[in-house]
C-alpha cells in the first residue's frame, strides 16, 4: 500500500471510538477476539468487523486463526499517524500558550 493510502486507512480506522478502545486494550497486551468482545455490548462478529478495519489499516496483526489467535498491536502505522497529529498539536499548543498568557493579562485588568 502506498504511504498516503496507508495513512488514510489509519485515520479512517482511528475515527471510530470502539476501534480506539480496542487499540487501547491491545496496547496492554495480546487479546483474543472473545476477550476483546467482552467489555463491549457487542457480538463477536461485530467486533470482528472492527478488527478487520484495523487489520486493513495495518494497525493490528494476528488474524490467521480468527477465533483463537490473539490480536496484537502493530506500532508502526499508528506511529506515522500520530506523528501528523503531534505536529498539528504542537503548532496549536504554541498558539494556546500565548493565549494563556494573554488571558492572565486580561484577568489582571478586570480585577478592581
Amino acid at each position: 500500500m502506498q504511504a498516503t493510502h496507508r495513512l488514510d486507512a489509519v485515520f479512517a480506522a482511528l475515527a471510530d471510538p470502539t476501534r480506539r478502545a480496542i487499540l487501547a486494550r491491545l496496547a496492554a497486551g495480546e487479546r483474543s477476539v472473545m476477550e476483546l468482545a467482552q467489555p463491549f455490548d457487542m457480538s463477536q462478529p461485530a467486533v470482528s468487523k472492527h478488527l478487520k478495519v484495523l487489520e486493513r489499516a495495518g494497525l493490528i496483526s494476528g488474524a490467521r486463526d480468527r477465533q483463537r489467535r490473539p490480536r496484537k498491536l502493530e506500532p508502526k502505522p499508528l506511529a506515522a499517524a500520530t506523528r501528523w497529529l503531534e505536529r498539528y498539536r504542537r503548532l496549536w499548543e504554541g498558539n494556546y500558550q500565548r493565549l494563556d498568557a494573554l488571558l492572565e493579562e486580561l484577568k489582571a485588568k478586570e480585577r478592581p
Binding site: A27, L78, R98, L103
Partner: protein
C-alpha cells in the same frame, strides 16, 4: 494548562479541545477582538499577524494575514461567519489564499465554562477525507519536523 487534545472524530474532521484558566467571556474576546487575536494566533515561532479584520455578525467576513519575520513570506486566510452565539459558539468558513487543500472548510468553535475555567472545542470539517489528511500531514506549517517518540502517550490517551 497544557492539555491540548487533537482527535479525528470522523473521516472529514479534526477536533481540538483545551481548557483555559479564565472565564468564558475573556476566551471569547480573545477570539473575536482583532487586537487580542493578533497577540496569540500566530502559528510557528517567528511569525506575526499584521492583518486581522473581524466583522462579527452572521454573513460578516473575517480575514487573517501572517508574515514571517525571517524571510518576509506571507500566508493569509479568511471566511464568513455562519452562526454566532456570544459567548459560546461560532460557526465560520475558512479558506486560505494559497490553499494546499481543496474546497472550503467549516470551523465550529464551542466554549463552555465551569468553575471559572473555560473549555474550548474547535472542530474543522473539510470537504473530503483526502483534504483532512492533507491538512494533518502539512502540520499547518510544512517543514516543522519534530522528533517524537510518544506512541505510549498517545495510546494512553486513546484509552481515556
Amino acid at each position: 494548562m497544557s492539555n491540548l487534545k487533537v482527535t479525528t472524530p470522523s473521516d472529514r474532521e479534526i477536533a481540538m479541545s483545551r481548557t483555559f484558566d479564565a472565564p468564558r467571556q475573556l476566551v471569547w474576546d480573545a477570539h473575536t477582538k482583532p487586537e487580542l487575536v493578533k497577540r496569540w494566533l500566530l502559528g510557528p515561532p517567528g511569525w506575526s499577524m499584521p492583518v486581522c479584520r473581524i466583522d462579527l455578525r452572521v454573513g460578516g467576513a473575517y480575514r487573517y494575514e501572517w508574515r514571517s519575520d525571517k524571510d518576509g513570506s506571507t500566508m493569509a486566510m479568511g471566511g464568513v461567519y455562519r452562526e454566532i452565539k456570544a459567548p459560546e459558539r461560532i460557526v465560520s468558513t475558512e479558506k486560505f489564499d494559497d490553499p494546499w487543500y481543496e474546497g472550503e472548510a467549516v470551523d465550529t468553535l464551542v466554549l463552555t465554562e465551569q468553575g471559572g475555567k473555560t473549555t474550548l472545542t474547535t472542530t474543522v470539517r473539510y470537504a473530503s477525507q483526502a483534504t483532512r489528511d492533507a491538512v494533518l500531514k502539512s502540520g499547518m506549517t510544512g517543514g516543522v519536523e519534530q522528533s517524537y517518540d510518544r506512541l505510549a502517550d498517545v495510546l494512553a490517551s486513546l484509552g481515556r
